[in-house]
Amino acid sequence: MQVILITVLVLGAIGVVGAALLYVVAKKFHTHEDPRIGEVESLLPGANCGACGRSGCHDFATACVAADSLESLVCPGAGDAAMKRIAALLGLEASVATPQIAVVKCGGSCEMRPRRVRYDGIRLCSAENAVGAGESMCGYGCLGCGDCVSACRFDAIHIDEATGLPVVDESKCTGCGACADACPRKVIMIRSKGPRGMRVWVACSSRDKGAYTMKVCKAGCIGCRKCAGVCSHDAITVNGNLAVIDPEKCKLCRKCEAVCPTGAIRTSNFPVRKSDCSV
């Protein structure tokens, strides 16, 4: 009996001392954080992608709470609705950001751009890029090892097995730009999503001369300037054998797509044309 009593007393005493210690430490080292920071953070995706320019979601939330206006504070990952709720929470005006999306500027699928050499190294675009121009011998095109896929924190980009090219999932892509940074060849571009997702872009990054581009890839931009000639909005510039469409100026008329001899100009989310149906 006595043994049990002593045990209980000793353990109880240790417990009391421990509790007191914990209480003192908790009091002494307590830091006050604005509870709104936590609330704002809970509205954010929590991917810590850095697309807002801050080091992470907590940092962004802290900045939001501290800021007088949300003008330069936009989380592309959360989207407009979430930004509005954050603004409401803080009693501020949400700034409207144009939704961004990642676009792949390479159309060199396996079929269009046959393999000329075999790469026998680690499956890492940056590693393959350091070895040479890559399997297709296009020095600008996608290497297809998926550095962008592993960089994406929203599971929004995947390599299509059939084409060997990355495909962006529009519903998931937030336009944070992690894939564009990871790509050693800067094949991925971040641009505005476009009205109802309608976009026209050049799916090629090659600045090689047309003749060489044509030799290695059937889908490459050869810098023929036909698109620039047909564009009535002055949205297309051809620089260094490569056409570039300015999303700000493009009026989505799709004349350029029609004249492009190699099919390097791509469009997305346009309603089906009547003429297309009849064919």
Binding site: R116, D120, L124, S126, G132, A133, M137, D208, K209
Partner: protein
């Protein structure tokens, strides 16, 4: 037993067969890449239709670290445009086509041109003059890295070199180009060493040659004995990567280049033997760097060939007997540090020390096994790094940790990948980690400066 460096190192099969140097007939057309060296590409100084003579400068150095380019054949410039490099990229180049009227270059080459100055005049040249001459001749390091030589000879302010290290180690398997040059023209190398010593203002030079080249050691020792300056020829124990700058300096002087530091911070300047010879020929004959000795291996007629820069790799391979049908890989440089090429329809450059044809069955990498933590890579690393660790850190993108483990110290010698019994691509990952960490360090510095 010769001296050697202190850490790591491996002994790959040497596969060297001493061969003399054979002259390759000048081709009818050369394509001179403007970026044959480390640094900024040269700027074309001729335009289409211009007539050039052998030895004319066709592109000038552009910026501090750059080298000019000369044509090895006389003829007409047919193209100033982009053309294919061996690695599959398109790059700026100048194409010169020989014309009927002017086809005596081969004779000129064979006759051994007249000196443009006497030996006495040569001894009277001062460092400044020599460096300018080297720059004008477009000389780059011929060991393989192709770093512009005149830049290396200009010792940075506040530092003082006291010894010239001449690299005759040629530790890469297969390559025998430097061996052949040392055996056949040791006096030209000695002449070059004398000039280089004056260019960097040192009183002492050490030539390091691996013991598997006994004839070269004898020839160089004989030449050193009667050259009149303090040149020592030191036999080195055969071990790869003996020819690495830091390893060679340690083997010959016992000095350790601090990590991130230049060799000159321990008072040493390293030059390759072939570079020394090129310097001598530039000074004595006014001959710019437009030809080099290339070891060809794996073809029907392997050997050492004196090849004009800009000649197509396919043409050289044809001269060397053609490539076997089951060719798997063609490498420029040695098998340890050379680069695999994507096409043979591209020109040779000043840095091409060898062309290696590897059969398909030997070229493919073995299946990767799990790491068995045998420590062979740690034992082999000449920089005292832990390749198994830094490759894993790089693979999992833990770049801060990789930086802590000094991934940037890696000299990419490939010893770790070579010895790994599990055939893991250690260097592939380390290289990736090294590049990424180096980029991050640059970004950080830039940020600091911006602030």
């Amino acid at each position: 037993m010769g001296t050697t460096f202190n850490k790591g190192g491996i002994h790959p099969a040497e596969n060297k067969t001493a061969a003399d140097i054979e002259d390759v007939e000048l081709p009818n057309e050369v394509t001179l890449l403007l970026s044959q060296h480390i640094g900024a590409p040269a700027k074309a100084a001729v335009s289409k239709g211009d007539r050039v003579r052998r030895g004319d400068m066709v592109a000038t150095a552009c910026g501090v670290v750059s080298a000019c380019v000369h044509t090895p054949i006389s003829g007409v410039v047919t193209k100033v445009d982009r053309s294919l490099t061996p690695y599959g990229y398109m790059a700026d180049s100048i194409t010169v086509k020989a014309d009927e009227a002017d086809h005596c270059d081969d004779e000129v080459r064979r006759k051994n041109v007249e000196p443009c100055r006497s030996i006495d005049e040569l001894d009277g040249l001062d460092g400044e003059r020599i460096r300018a001459m080297v720059a004008d001749a477009g000389i780059v390091g011929l060991g393989g890295a192709a770093f512009p030589t005149h830049v290396k000879l200009a010792v940075p302010k506040g530092l003082k070199a006291d010894v010239l290290i001449v690299n005759g180690a040629e530790c890469e398997p297969y390559l025998t180009a430097d061996d052949a040059i040392m055996r056949l023209c040791p006096d030209e190398i000695m002449g070059g060493i004398k000039l280089l010593m004056r260019a960097v203002d040192v009183k002492r030079a050490i030539v390091g040659i691996e013991e598997n080249k006994p004839d070269a050691i004898v020839a160089m020792k004989r030449a050193a004995a009667c050259c009149g300056v303090d040149v020592t020829v030191v036999p080195l124990k055969v071990k790869y990567p003996q020819g690495g700058e830091k390893q060679l300096i340690f083997a010959l002087t016992g000095r350790e280049v601090p990590s991130g530091g230049l060799p000159v911070s321990v008072g040493a300047v390293v030059q390759n033997v072939a570079t020394a010879r090129a310097v001598y020929r530039a000074a004595l004959y006014g001959e710019p760097l437009m030809e080099r000795v290339v070891t060809v291996a794996g073809t029907a007629r392997p050997g050492n060939y004196r090849v004009p820069v800009g000649m197509g790799i396919n043409e050289l391979l044809k001269v060397a007997g053609g490539i076997p049908a089951d060719t798997g890989k063609i490498v420029i440089g040695g098998p340890m540090m050379g680069k695999a090429i994507e096409t043979i329809y591209a020109p040779l450059t000043k840095g091409s020390s060898g062309i290696l044809v590897i059969l398909e069955r030997e070229a493919s990498r073995q299946a990767v096994m799990p790491c068995i933590r045998c420590g062979a890579c740690v034992e082999a690393c000449p920089m005292g790094l832990e390749p198994y660790l830094i490759s894993t850190l790089s693979r999992f993108r833990m770049f801060d940790e990789a930086e802590e483990q000094k991934v940037t110290n890696c000299i990419e010698c490939g010893s770790c990948s070579y010895v790994c019994p599990a055939a893991r691509p250690l260097l592939d990952y380390v290289r990736y980690g090294k590049a990424t960490v180096a980029e991050r360090i640059r970004q950080r510095k830039k940020k600091c400066e911006d602030k």
